[in-house]
């Protein structure tokens, strides 16, 4: 029961409290770039979740069994970037061959994920928080879902912004960034919620 509690706490924490986009400000580029339409936002969210899970599944063993054993913890960032980039490329080739329809709908977003710092952030934070393999996977699932949640919420906010009458100078990116800061403030309301939930 305790493990379940821990995992649930990790999942909820990474979705709501430590939301990567809105609390840690990682992965802002796709957050602003692909949140114009709901279906695109969902597509990007699914792709990021998938890549986060895959990246964690590969980087965690490499950190534990290769880097730690050789005393190369300081090479973490470079090795992880290398692995994530290659992984995304591999996923793209794989999808193109076996699931062309999915490749067509995700195709645009996959290269964007290669340099998405949220993915790198998840893998590094998993190591930093000294999670086990299972906990790491749950945490990356939560982070991916949190990313998707932020994207979906913000696509709704953006469609409202597009329809509203705002001063000329605020149109476009300024209004979007201000709105993003409000959404981010709203997420600060989750502070402490999860800790008390499982206390």
């Amino acid at each position: 029961m305790d493990t379940f509690k821990t995992l649930a706490a990790i999942l909820l924490t990474s979705v709501l409290v430590n939301n990567y986009v809105l609390r840690q400000f990682l992965g802002i580029c796709p957050f602003l770039g692909v949140s114009k339409k709901l279906n695109q936002a969902v597509g990007m969210g699914v792709a990021v979740t998938f890549v986060m899970l895959l990246a964690t599944a590969v980087t965690w063993p490499i950190q534990m069994f290769v880097l730690n054993n050789l005393g190369l913890e300081y090479m973490q960032t470079i090795v992880f970037i290398l692995i994530i980039a290659a992984l995304v490329q591999f996923v793209e080739i794989f999808l193109k061959k076996f699931i062309p329809s999915l490749h067509k709908s995700l195709g645009v977003y996959l290269p964007l994920i290669t340099t998405n710092c949220a993915v790198l952030g998840v893998t590094i934070n998993n190591i930093k928080d000294s999670y086990g393999f299972g906990e790491s996977m749950v945490s990356s699932l939560g982070c991916g879902l949190g990313f998707m949640l932020a994207m979906v919420l913000f696509s709704g906010v953006r469609s409202r912004i597009d329809e509203s009458d705002i001063p000329e100078h605020f149109k476009g990116l300024p209004a979007t960034l201000i709105a993003a800061s409000f959404v981010s403030l709203a997420f600060y309301g989750f502070e402490g919620v999860v800790d008390n939930l499982f206390a």
């Binding site: 470079i78 290398l82 692995i83 490329q89 591999f90 080739i93 794989f94 193109k96 076996f98």
Partner: protein, 272 residues
């Protein structure tokens, strides 16, 4: 700190890079997808307006269907016969002629002729306006004039003035998007060499149609009786022209009591 630490770090990064490189190289070899050259050729020959007149999702979708042999090469309306000829050459099949078409608003009910029963002051959309008691005009088959057709036109060939949509036949590519958008279903695709057209879509009885709009077709059958080619038939109180038979003799126009039969010259933008 000795040289070994550096070498080990170097070796690990190089090793990871090498393994990943080999995996990617193998993957790109084994999972390679053959892209059909024909698709690319066909796609380049198409105009790229993505108008959807061919019935596919866009030029890409149509190119794929043509290359696979699932679609005829003469469906691209904006490209016309020159594109059809190019596609036929790429595919190595016989050229099929494509009859160029032009969209035409079959309504003569401008602000003066059509009787209005209300002033519509809602969302500027024909679809919305026609939901309110069938539109702002007495005639249920009248152009609403809010310009839904103009907003979907990919080449900006439609403008609305005097409460009636006007399509510039020289700009129109005949994609038929407006035809599907019009909530009154009064836009029709006519052959580009059309000489006479009925500028009305009202199928109510003559007396009712006439009260609602001065320019309405009242279904009097004068045109049907006078046509030497038997090209006109009145069905449901509305004259309909068979363009395979019409020679453009203009006898029907002269005999039409409400002058809803209009001379047409699409090439020179003369309608009515």
């Amino acid at each position: 700190m000795d040289i070994n630490a550096i070498l080990i770090a170097l070796g690990v990064v190089a090793g990871v890079g090498l393994v990943m490189g080999i995996v990617l190289a193998l993957a790109s070899k084994f999972f390679a997808v053959d892209e059909d050259e024909k698709v690319l050729l066909v796609r380049e020959a198409l105009p790229g307006a993505n108008c959807g007149a061919c019935g596919y999702t866009g030029c890409d979708g149509y190119a794929e269907a043509v290359a696979k042999g699932e679609a005829e090469p003469n469906l691209c309306i904006p490209g016309g016969s020159s594109t059809a000829a190019q596609l036929s050459i790429i595919l190595g099949v016989k050229i099929q002629e494509l009859e160029p078409k032009v969209a035409f608003v079959a309504c003569g009910g401008d602000c003066e002729a059509a009787k209005s029963n209300a002033i519509y002051d809602g969302i500027k959309s024909c679809k919305a306006a026609s939901m309110v008691y069938g539109g702002p005009f007495d005639c249920a088959y009248s152009c609403v004039g809010c310009g839904d057709c103009a907003s979907v036109c990919p080449v900006n060939a439609i403008c609305v003035h005097d409460g009636l949509a006007h399509i510039d036949p020289r700009e129109c590519v005949g994609c038929g998007k407006c035809v599907g958008t019009c909530p009154k279903h009064i836009i029709k695709l006519l052959p580009k060499d059309t000489k006479t057209a009925v500028m009305c879509s009202n199928i109510q009885k003559g007396a009712v149609a006439r009260t609602n709009c001065k320019n309405a077709c009242i279904g009097c059958k004068k045109c049907e009786l006078n046509c030497p080619e038997k090209a006109i038939t009145v069905i449901d109180n509305l004259a309909r022209i068979d363009y395979d038979k019409c020679t453009g003799c203009r006898l029907c126009e002269e005999n039409c009591p409400t002058k809803c039969l209009k001379p047409i010259d699409f090439m020179n933008n003369k309608i009515g």
